[in-house]
């Protein structure tokens, strides 16, 4: 068969296929079975044209057709609430448990400095001042002070919304950065974890020492269930990625990095979800001054239990079916 024969015999089909692809790209309905059949044929023609060294314009035409169709046919379309539900109920908790070692590592890197700083700031007079400067500490003292203007007192709904936006922009941004910085051999994530642990611990310890614990603890108890877990998970995701290529095992470093990033992404999803919930609680619930502290502690206990149950128990026993 000569190139001229080849083009004459199949050119009509290629044209029809191109038209069908253009329609599909505009989002119109096309006959899927026909499209797939034509796609297979075009692939076959492309392979033939390449192996017989047909003229470049023919090969180029077939190649761009095949490439176009390839993008269209393999496009993912399984988005939706069902998939999202499955992600939250099964895939995320499973992924977190599968990365248990990294979650544990991130937990230690975050909790250890937090507890140490809390104890030191609480029990020694000058530790807090070694970590943060006096102006910052005074700022926190006024925030959790007993006068009406501060956080944790009565305020308008509009302010709640303002704070909600602030928490989303700020806290989720920190979570994402904590993950992204992990590619630097995990150092970035470790730094964010240590730094935040230290800072939170110092503030908590200092406020307790200053006698403002009765304002501080009811405020943070509930949303910390989501926020602290979220930070630990995003840190764990970053560590997974960074340590993945640092110790690649039997893979090349790039391959190991790809694999590690793929395994870390569900943790980022989980962290994003938790931080989103945390922002909601922090803006609309934690600040509600009309709720008695014992109610807040009760709800906080429930939330902590829920988060831990979600991560430890949900999705056990269901396989990757479907």
């Amino acid at each position: 068969m000569t190139p001229l024969h080849f083009e004459a015999a199949y050119g009509g089909m290629w044209e029809a296929f191109a038209e069908q692809l253009a329609l599909a790209h505009q989002g119109k309905r096309v006959d899927g079975a026909l499209l797939a059949a034509r796609y297979r044929q075009v692939c076959e023609h492309l392979a033939l044209a390449q192996s017989r060294a047909y003229p470049t314009h023919v090969v180029g035409r077939l190649e761009s057709l095949a490439q176009d169709a390839h993008q269209l046919i393999y496009r993912r379309q399984d988005y939706g609430l069902v998939a999202l539900g499955r992600l939250l109920r099964v895939q995320l908790p499973q992924a977190v448990r599968a990365q248990g070692r990294y979650v544990g590592l991130a937990f230690v890197l975050f909790t250890l400095p937090l507890l140490l700083a809390l104890l030191l700031a609480w029990l020694t007079p000058d530790f807090a001042l070694r970590v943060m400067d006096a102006a910052q500490l005074r700022n926190f003292e006024t925030m959790y002070g007993d006068d009406r203007e501060s956080v944790g007192r009565l305020r308008e709904a509009a302010t709640d919304w303002q704070m909600f936006g602030h928490y989303i922009f700020n806290n989720i941004g920190i979570g994402f950065r904590c993950f992204g910085a992990g590619i630097l051999a995990g150092v970035g994530s470790a730094f964010v974890l240590l730094f935040n642990g230290l800072q939170i611990g110092v503030v908590a310890g200092h406020l307790q020492r200053a006698g403002l614990g009765h304002n501080f603890w009811p405020f943070v108890a509930t949303h910390s269930a989501f926020e602290l877990t979220g930070i630990v998970l995003s840190g764990a995701a970053g560590m997974r990625m960074g340590l993945g290529w640092l110790a690649p095992g039997r893979r090349t470093r790039v391959e190991a990095l790809k694999l590690a990033a793929g395994e870390a992404v569900p943790l980022v999803y989980a962290a994003f979800f938790l931080l989103l919930v945390a922002a909601g609680f922090e803006a609309f619930w934690s600040s509600a001054a009309w709720v008695a502290p014992w109610v807040k502690f009760l709800v906080a206990g429930l939330c902590w239990a829920m988060v831990l149950m979600w991560l430890c128990l949900t999705g056990r026993g269901s396989r990757h079916a479907g």
Binding site: P3, R52, T56, S64, A66, R76, G165, F169
Partner: protein, 240 residues
């Protein structure tokens, strides 16, 4: 033909084999076009932020909160959402004819898009995307750190067309049988008739002069390039 990747490639084409057993060539986009796309996106994002601030800012404190949520979305969600659309590209990339694909040539997956866009944090370090630019210049597929981790490529969406149908001339049988490589060379030379200068076209034709048949007395006078075009037509299957 076994399309083994030659040892010393002179172009940056990334060749990927698909499950259908064919090889597709992807053209990775380089630093300049990607920077332009980024700057365009930056402009669009700024515009969205300004509009958000003007519209929602009028709503007082609640509006302020909504503006911050909007800014969060513009900073983090904007590239992910646009890359997962049919075009596979943010508006800036689309304007420059780029799209994001997996390095298997498939459309980008949500997880990969999330990875490559969250890793902008690391690419940005220490200042102005320095890590990203260095990585991009160091590998031949022009990947920044985020692309390496996500396994994605930023490629040109449209193919470059350098070859057209050879111009129609009466066919001419070559002086001797030609092997496949020689046939391919003459055909691709003929395909560039409209895009090369006539002098260069002629000069290249002279290289192939040995395959031209001796002039027969009844043949009209033609230049070597016109005669070689005839051979090309003959190789395409034309017999007149």
């Amino acid at each position: 033909m076994q399309r083994a990747v030659p040892v010393q490639r002179i172009d940056t084409l990334a060749q990927v084999e698909t499950p259908e057993g064919i090889v597709l060539s992807l053209r990775p986009a380089g630093l300049v076009s990607r920077t332009m796309a980024f700057l365009l996106d930056l402009f669009f994002r700024l515009l969205i932020n300004i509009v958000l601030a003007l519209v929602l800012g009028a709503l007082g404190r609640m509006g302020g909160g909504l503006v911050l949520i909007g800014m969060f979305a513009v900073e983090w969600i904007y590239p992910i959402v646009f890359e997962l659309t049919r075009a596979g590209a943010t508006p800036g990339k689309k304007a420059l004819g780029l799209r994001v694909v997996m390095d298997t040539g498939l459309p980008v997956t949500p997880a990969a898009s999330v990875t490559r866009n969250l890793l902008r944090v690391a690419d940005f370090l220490p200042l102005g995307y320095t890590f990203g630019i260095i990585t991009l210049l160091l590998n031949r597929e022009c990947k920044r750190l985020g692309d390496l981790a996500a396994g994605t490529l930023v490629v040109y969406a449209e193919p470059v067309v350098l070859h057209d149908q050879p111009p129609a001339t009466p066919s001419l049988a070559p002086a001797r049988p030609l092997n496949q490589q020689e046939q391919a060379a003459i055909r691709s030379w003929a395909g560039r008739a409209k895009r090369l200068t006539p002098e260069r076209f002629e000069e290249l034709a002279l290289l192939a002069a040995p395959v031209l048949p001796p002039l027969s007395p009844d043949e009209p006078r033609r230049s070597p390039s016109e005669r070689l075009l005839g051979v090309a037509q003959w190789l395409m299957g034309k017999r007149s």
